[in-house]
């Protein structure tokens, strides 16, 4: 055997030691990158809190936007965002869950079902601003909904529909077949099996999906700018509860609106430094709400996972 080709034991050991060193170096690099990213999130949040600290106060929550930075507040934006979220949830939840049930429990395996599935996957990848253009052309002009809370809520509902569908399907799939078979065995119809047995077990997963979807919707700015949200709204939508019969009114759906992310965008794009503090304070509140919703979603998932023992 040619001695030049063969490695001595010494050389092999050296090479191995070197390669093991590389392993350790990579662990350090990986940790550094990971914590770098997490630290950025922490710095961002801390900076928002610090920059906005001068603005946190009761007045900030109870004032309308104003030309004077120190008198401006987020009242109309917070109310607008809350009402839009109500519409979004009321539309996205039933439609998303129904679509998921159809795909998971009912749909035959054929080309038609395939088309629906491909559509759901592709819609998740469509840029959010394209949903805004869809809403502008369809809801605002074709359906004549105008630049209203209803149009914004419907837009964001379409946007988060794929999230709700995917989450619901996953939790439906996690319910063991045996439970369905047992119910069929007792003569239940497909809908009875779904409604009485499968759905109750999937509630946790569905709620998690809905909350994650809403946490995405609450921060979406582009689609609602496109349909024409205004940034200067110094009034509140009409109250849903009225003094006269029938005591409930849907007028608020047709109201013009502003929303938290729009307000932040408006403040951050002003050259006047004083408004940056407002942007930071509102940004901290919005970010806090998003993180809170995510935390709730994770908690629900954890609770339900612990509770269910098949």
């Amino acid at each position: 055997m040619a001695t030049t080709a063969a490695l001595t034991l010494e050389e092999i050991r050296k090479g191995l030691a070197w390669r093991k060193q590389l392993d350790k170096v990579f662990v350090l690099v990986g940790l550094a990158v990971l914590f770098g990213c997490l630290a950025t999130l922490a710095i961002l949040f801390a900076d928002l809190l610090q920059q906005g600290s001068s603005r946190f106060g009761w007045d900030f929550f109870t004032s309308f936007p104003s030309r004077k930075a120190e008198r401006a507040g987020i009242l109309s934006a917070a109310v607008g965002t809350s009402l839009i979220m109500v519409v979004t949830a009321l539309v996205a939840l039933p439609v998303g869950v129904a679509a998921a049930i159809y795909l998971e429990e009912y749909a035959p395996k054929n080309w038609f079902t395939g088309i629906i599935e491909i559509n759901v996957t592709n819609l998740a990848g469509v840029p959010s601003i394209v949903y805004g253009l869809l809403a502008l052309g369809l809801f605002v002009y074709q359906f004549n909904l105008g630049q209203s809370i209803l149009a914004a809520g419907l837009t964001l509902a379409l946007l988060i529909l794929p999230i709700v569908i995917v989450a619901t399907r996953e939790s439906l799939r996690a319910v063991p077949k045996a439970i369905r078979e047992a119910a069929y065995g007792l003569g239940a119809t497909r809908w009875e099996v779904t409604k009485d047995h499968v759905l109750p077990y999937s509630t946790g997963g569905i709620l998690t999906g809905l909350i994650l979807g809403l946490s995405r919707a609450i921060g979406e700015t582009a689609p609602i700018i496109t349909i024409g949200a205004l940034s200067f709204i110094a009034f509140l939508p009409p109250s849903p509860v009225t003094a006269e019969f029938p005591f409930l009114s849907l007028e608020w759906l047709k109201s013009e609106f502003t929303a938290m992310p729009i307000q932040i965008f408006n403040w951050v794009s002003r050259p006047d430094q004083a408004f940056q503090a407002n942007a930071a304070a509102a940004g901290a509140i919005l970010l806090g709400m998003t993180l809170l919703m995510n935390a709730i979603a994770i908690w629900i998932r954890y609770r339900f996972r612990k509770k269910i023992n098949w």
Partner: protein, 308 residues
């Protein structure tokens, strides 16, 4: 007595028939909900094509594709989409320059090196990074990152694509990391064991066995990142400026397709003006760009798919 039994059976049959009929109705309702997804896709394409058709009645497709200026809102209007596409591609390029290395390193670390506890704790936290509202990232880019960059690069304008691209890159790291990690974890354990048995270290196994084995999934993760970066709106609208500028130099300000749409939406253009119609043409180009990247991704993943 026997008559009562018969009646009961009849009742049961009637109720079964009712329940089956109800099942059919419910199925139709559920199907209708499923069709909302199909309807949305059709509506997106229809609205974009329909509204841009008015635009293309006034502007020739040749001008749209070859002109080097985009000034639909000026008196001397020019309609070349190239500057907006250049802006979009430049920002996307900068974002990928950040997101692909960082995302891949995090994915390899979490999938191959990190202890179970670390992975389970870190992954949800990392996903929070992707949940931050984009308008907040925009604030971050304009107020924090740009001043920092201006110290490093003297003469950097207050609006620039570099700062927007870097922040978008950071924003899509979690997507890239999370999807690539899932792909790497799907590589079967025995392939790693085989590699270890040959005397390979973790690092060698990760780079030469796991990454090639998961390449189709990793490519899908990159494509997802690209789609996100191309369609990102608020960060560029806030931090990169709103002036169309035909350049690939990230230190310059430039508008992207998305920023242009926002700019027009903020104004108060009448429904039938050409400025208004131009945002649908721009949106159509945006949708086609994401479509092209997704088709490339589809073929990449198919080309590199490994079957176990």
């Amino acid at each position: 007595m026997s008559q009562g039994k018969a009646l009961k059976a009849q009742g049961a049959f009637a109720s079964l028939r009712y329940r089956k009929a109800r099942d059919r109705v419910v199925e139709l309702i559920l199907l209708a909900a499923g069709l909302v997804a199909v309807f949305t896709t059709v509506a997106i394409i229809f609205i974009l094509v329909y509204e841009s058709s008015f635009f293309f009645e006034n502007v020739s497709i040749k001008d749209f594709l070859t002109d080097t200026m985009w000034t639909p809102l000026f008196a001397d209007a020019r309609y070349g989409i190239a500057p907006l596409v250049a802006g979009t591609l430049t920002v996307t390029g900068v974002a990928l320059f950040v997101a692909i290395p960082l995302g891949t390193i995090i994915a390899i670390y979490l999938s191959e090196f990190a202890p179970h506890r670390v992975r389970e704790t870190v992954k949800p936290i990392l996903e929070l990074l992707g949940a931050v509202p984009t308008v907040v990232y925009g604030y971050f880019a304009l107020i924090m990152v740009t001043p920092l960059l201006q110290k490093l690069i003297p003469g950097l304008p207050g609006f620039n694509m570099l700062s927007a691209g870097l922040v978008i890159g950071l924003m899509i790291v979690p997507y890239v990391a999370s999807v690539s990690e899932d792909a790497m974890r799907a590589v079967p354990r025995y392939m790693r064991e085989g590699s270890y048995a040959m005397g390979a270290t973790k690092m060698q196994t990760a780079l030469r066995v796991v990454v090639p084995g998961a390449f189709s999934g990793i490519a899908a993760a990159y494509i997802l990142g690209i789609s996100r970066a191309v369609g990102e709106t608020m960060v560029v609208a806030i931090a990169a400026g709103m002036m169309p500028n035909l350049t690939f130099n990230p230190t310059e300000p430039a508008a992207t397709i998305t920023a242009y749409i926002v700019q027009v939406s903020l104004g108060d253009l009448p429904h039938d003006s050409i400025g208004y119609q131009s945002i649908f043409a721009a949106g159509l180009v945006l949708l086609l760009m994401t479509l092209v990247f997704n088709v490339i991704g589809f073929f990449l993943t198919r080309r590199f798919r490994e079957a176990y």
